[in-house]
Symmetry: C2
Subunit: 336 residues, 2 copies
């Protein structure tokens, strides 16, 4: 039995939304009609899908009873306003903005906690976690049978595309200005991002943490079902267009068996292990790929219960659009 | 009583050496004649010093009995070959290459372990530690009275200038080629460094660690006199010309008193603390400055005995030339 429904993508003209639309076509996603929604700024534009041009409309005028599933790939604010309308219309949704509380829309990474879907009811509300939480969960999930994780230390160097179209445009502009010896004028980023690293992404709260760091910590614990895990998270803005890089240090309850770790990662779904004589990079390996790359797998210098890793992942694909598409496929296959 | 001697700088035409020569002038370093040495490639060139042009000569032909102190700012190989000649001539030396074992030439950061000089004898042999170890030591030394450090987790994002002139030239070349839509040709870096992060700097050994990571760990423990400290070190190559950025996570024996940490950093020599509503960056703050910047000072999200920091430092100044100049000043003032 093959089911297919009408589906909506909100934020279809954005970095994540446009990739999601491509993936829905590439993966032959089981859908009949696709509704593309955005703000009034790009309403009227068309995007290609299955050989036709689909007109973009505003989300405000959209009647959610027309679709069984909606992907929310716009801002938190858009999700906050329109998710209740979708729910009232009986439409299930997959949110990418992180606007909904974990209790209402659990974070799901199919390779790690697909089983949580069984505990939910229609209309379904799921969240695709932040890009760095998704990448980390894909790599740590297959290690959970081997290791008792005590603490995850992670420095996530995020691509400017994690800030959407404006982040990408601003890195390009700044780099060109600097190479042309023009004085730097700041726009989207409030200081020089070209040839620099910014110590934080967004505003910090009174305890010093940013939203992306809190999301990374909360979402990782939820997806791995490890509420007691200690997470030390730092999210940094890197002058990289696409692809997140994560430097990860794990503290485990006992000595780490490196051969077993490598074997588990070799066989893990969604993971590509890079051997010790090489290492993965965001741009060279991960971008444009469905898998999350992991390399530099090594025990601690001073602690045999420590495991260090480097993860490179496409923030727009597995970090967002691909993970959401996979969640949609699961919902349609088993639940809708 | 003011003493001044003749002094030599080996590698005077390089990234570190040229900055060191500038600093010797800026700081009015107590020296009579300055001998500038390099390879035969740049012998014959002149560099300005105190209003005169000083001719560069080859280190091979240099007679070390002419000087009381020599700075070794060329390769490890140059130190290995010529340090014994300096020593035989009774010349003290400050090495920047890391070629000499800790037992022979201890790592010294004046703000942290200047007292070690008292235990040595002429001719003195000191090492200025790697740039990231020096930056970290400057920040951690003033916290040692407050905190019992158990583990230091550090991801050090190194500037391409940490690879010398060739690293700087290659990032500039790659960036220009990519912005001009030309296919990337690799030269000094064996893959794309522009708009990317490389997971390691140099070759890894069979346990997966690179020389810079092992140096960071060994040198930090030696400078802080904490042989039992656990260090989890990852050194990454960032597409940044000048300035290292360190994401640091400390595990302490007891709950961290943040106010006391901030007060200790406020008053610490060589440290500039950036308050919580702002953060330092390598390019915007540290480069060209003598102080090491620290910010994002925050307790763990899940652990009150965890302290997280961000450090931005000029790898060529405090990371090398400045620290070496300070060591030279100490030697001349108290020991030579
Ligand atoms: N980029 C990533 O790596 C990443 C990863 C994980 C999650 N996310 C999340 O995914 C969401 C989209 O991010 P993005 O990177 O794709 O951003 P983006 O490139 O800036 O695109 C934003 C999208 O939202 C739409 N939009 C903005 N305001 C709207 C409104 N009032 N009503 C309807 N649509 C509106 C825009 O439409 P117009 O064309 O009309 O302006 C555009 O389609 C964000 O919540 C982000 O946090 C992003
Ligand atoms: N850059 C940093 O951030 C940093 C920080 C800490 C420590 N260090 C260390 O400092 C040292 C110098 O680094 P750098 O960044 O200045 O490198 P660099 O820019 O590549 O300069 C290398 C210098 O070494 C000289 N040299 C090379 N081969 C020589 C030989 N056979 N005999 C005499 N001189 C020779 C070069 O002279 P020519 O002009 O004749 O080639 C040049 O002056 C290295 O050991 C490095 O590890 C560097």
């Amino acid at each position: 039995m093959s089911k297919s429904f009408d589906i909506a993508v909100i934020g279809a003209t954005g970095t994540v939304g446009a990739t999601l639309v491509q993936l829905l076509e590439e993966r032959d996603f089981p859908l009949a009609n696709l509704h593309l929604l955005a703000s009034s700024e790009s309403a009227g534009q068309s995007l290609p899908f299955r050989g036709k041009n689909v007109r973009v409309r505003t989300v405000e005028e959209f009647d959610f009873s027309q679709v069984r599933l909606a992907f929310f790939a716009a801002s938190e604010q858009v999700t906050r306003v329109h998710a209740p309308r979708a729910q009232a219309a009986g439409c299930s949704l997959i949110d990418l903005s992180g606007a909904l509380p974990v209790s209402q829309a659990p974070r799901v990474v199919p390779e790690a906690n697909a089983q949580i879907l069984k505990t939910l009811q229609a209309p379904y509300q799921l969240t695709s976690p932040s890009a760095s939480a998704a990448a980390l969960a894909v790599v740590l999930a297959p290690l959970q049978a081997l290791l008792t994780l005590r603490r995850v230390g992670v420095t996530a160097c995020l691509a400017v595309s994690s800030q959407g179209r404006e982040g990408v445009a601003d890195l390009a502009r700044q780099t060109t200005e600097l190479l042309n010896m023009r004085p730097l004028e700041t726009r989207f980023f409030d200081r020089q991002i070209a040839f620099n690293l910014l110590a934080q992404v967004g505003q910090a709260d009174e305890s010093g943490y940013t939203v992306v760091e809190r999301r990374l910590s909360t979402e990782l614990k939820q997806v791995l079902a490890l509420p007691e895990l200690k997470v030390a998270a730092t999210c940094v803005q890197a002058p990289v267009f696409f692809g997140d890089s994560l430097s990860v240090s794990l503290e485990c309850a006992a000595e780490v068996d490196l051969a077993a770790v490598r074997a588990a990662l070799e066989g893990a779904p969604g993971v590509e292990l890079v051997e010790a004589d090489d290492y993965p990079t965001a741009v060279g390996d991960a971008v444009g790929q469905d898998v999350v790359y992991v390399g530099r797998v090594r025990a601690g210098l001073d602690d045999a219960a420590e495991l260090n890793l480097w993860i490179a992942s496409d923030n727009v694909r597995k970090g967002a659009a691909l993970n959401a598409a996979q969640l949609g496929e699961l919902l349609i296959k088993h639940y809708l």
